[in-house]
Amino acid sequence: MKEKKYIIDTTLRDGEQTPGYAFSKAQKVELAKLMDDAGIYQIEAGIPAMGNYEKETICEIMSQRKKALISTWNRMSRDDINNSFECRPDIIHITAPISYIHIYSKLNKNKTWLKKTLQECVFMAKDKGYEVTVGFEDASRADITFIISMANLLSDLEVKSVRFADTVGVLTPSRTHQCIREIIENVDIPVGIHAHNDLGMALANSLIAAKAGALYIDTTIAGIGERAGNCDLYRFITAAGGVFNIKPCHSDAADVNKKAQNLLFSKLQKTEVI
């Protein structure tokens, strides 16, 4: 029997962060409907902290969804999480910089601060009855023992899952396999993969992560996202559909891919061929 895997589509959050892209409320609501109809498990709908327009958009997505789970993306900030509360999503996703490069050099903080702040944020969302997931930002350049210790802490806090993010896209398949296995073998918590395509391996790394036991796979329509983009939904389904029990099926993925591209990119200059 094929192993079951779940798609978390982040076109509306990480995908829209592609420089030069700005989706309207109508586009985002329509895309969420298309993905919901196609059977996508979870839709990362946006960042409420961006302001009222974004919050109204996410509320509208929530009001129209049928089956898909809707999540919002938050930094480790009380303000961000308060903004998310206004959208009443199914899942509050909190991102936590996990590499020393990010903790010390980007934020000028330390591991103690990270632990304390992350716990506070998780408690805050949990207190209101929300399902919480946590993304480990820049996990591919982090100390795996620190990741495991943080994942254990989050497991104790009943966080639903942790996301292993290859934020700068430097993972190789064998390294991906090793990292995901290490977490799964040491922590009782479901793991997701969020891959970037800087070295052309986002899809391969996502595939290998799934083979290694990752339950959730982050994708975007046409692989859009920061720099060289993320794991392409349609292509991932094409490659992985025969190996895993995963939705959407190939024809639904092709359909949502086509409709979404018409919806999102028709206004933009389309020159891409290769």
């Binding site: 829209e16 962060q17 592609t18 420089p19 030069g20 892209y21 700005a22 989706f23 309207s24 961006m50 302001g51 327009y53 930094r75 490069i101 990010h102 050099s105 980007k106 934020t167 700068v168 896209g169 430097v170 190789t172 398949p173 064998s174 390294r175 395509n197 800087d198 070295l199 052309g200 391996m201 899809l203 391969a204 790394n205 595939l207 290998i208 083979k211 692989g223 859009i224 996202g225 920061e226 720099r227 060289a228 983009g229 392409d232 292509r235 094409t238 490659a239 992985a240 025969g242 190996v243 206004k267 933009l268 020159t271 891409e272 061929v273 290769i274």
Partner: protein, 318 residues
């Protein structure tokens, strides 16, 4: 010793292209740190003067053609034969991992290139690599194809698992692993730097687009025009503190530069940086109003703002 063979020039129709442009592409590809470049006989006859035979592999139809075109570093021929010179590489197509059982019948071939292996990454590729190496005692090369979008990853894993010979093409042309991606992977994961200056990829990209009429996607890994564009507040802020926070390698490594785009996702740092670039001094208390206005305009236009549009708005807040 890692030996990369590039087959870009065998993947597109060069018949209408000027000879000097093809020669130029040939020379540029050799500057990327590859060991060999593969061409076919008609192309050799077209750019003969530019060809460095010691760094060129010739694609032939029959092993007997080696005598007609002597002196190349190697020859590639579909299926080859057993009674052939040491420098003939027999090319074997394996589309599906289930076909791998069939390759044992080619064990007597001295040098082998296995082309295809599209779905290998879905299976136990590490042990398969070991088995393939045990089957062939001579020079073994793989040329992954991209039907499952994993060709580059497979090429990288082959080399990272001590495979020595690998075949790729620029931008993955023809459905193979992408040369520029493999070169960058080996640079980052293995510190393999046969060529320190990879800005040659920009020149190859421009020439390739000119010769093929294809436009390479702006977000194509390593060579896309927009891979160093950055807009989101978090990323701009992180990059301004230290570029490695959100970039896997410096733009200058591949002859590019960073471009801060102002749009829906811009934050204070990006806006202040861009204003400084244009010598516009906004009133501090009006930055958040300016950010809101930028967001509104960007949503209205359905895209990021051009610098002229941004400055025009910003002047109203200065």
């Amino acid at each position: 010793m890692i030996k990369i063979t590039d087959i870009t020039l065998c993947t597109f129709n060069y018949k209408a292209a000027p000879e000097h442009k093809i020669s130029q592409l040939y020379s540029l590809l050799l500057q990327t740190g590859i060991s060999y470049i593969e061409i076919d006989i008609p192309l050799f006859e077209l750019i003969e003067k530019a060809v460095d035979k010691a760094k060129t592999v010739l694609r032939i139809h029959y092993p007997t053609q080696i005598n007609t075109f002597p002196g190349f570093a190697g020859y590639v021929c579909r299926l080859g034969s057993f009674e052939t010179p040491m420098n003939l590489i027999s090319e074997i197509q394996v589309n599906d991992i289930r076909e791998l059982n069939q390759i044992t019948k080619y064990t007597k071939n001295k040098n082998v290139r296995i082309i295809g292996l599209d779905d290998l990454l879905l299976h136990d590729y590490v042990n398969t690599f070991v088995k393939i190496k045990e089957i062939f005692s001579g020079r073994l090369e793989i040329c992954p194809q991209n039907r499952y979008y994993c060709a580059t990853a497979l090429a990288a894993e082959w080399v990272l698992n001590e495979g020595q010979n690998i075949t790729v093409s620029f931008c993955g042309a023809g459905g193979f692993a992408a040369l520029e991606e493999l070169v960058m992977i080996l640079r980052i994961a293995k510190r393999h730097k046969p060529n320190m200056d990879l800005s040659v990829f920009r020149k190859i990209k421009e020439l390739y687009e000119e010769l093929t009429g294809c436009q390479i996607s702006g977000n194509k890994a390593v060579i896309g025009d927009r891979i160093f564009d950055v807009e989101s507040g978090i990323h701009v802020d992180g990059i301004l503190k230290k570029s490695s926070n959100y970039e896997p390698f410096e733009p200058t490594v591949v002859g590019m530069s960073r471009n801060i785009v102002i749009g829906k996702h811009s934050g204070k740092s990006a806006v202040e940086m861009k204003l400084k670039e244009y010598g516009v001094i906004p009133k501090n208390e009006k930055i958040s109003l300016l950010l809101t206005r930028i967001r509104e305009e960007s949503i209205r236009l359905g895209r990021g703002l051009k610098d002229s549009e941004f400055i025009s708005i910003a002047r109203k807040f200065s």
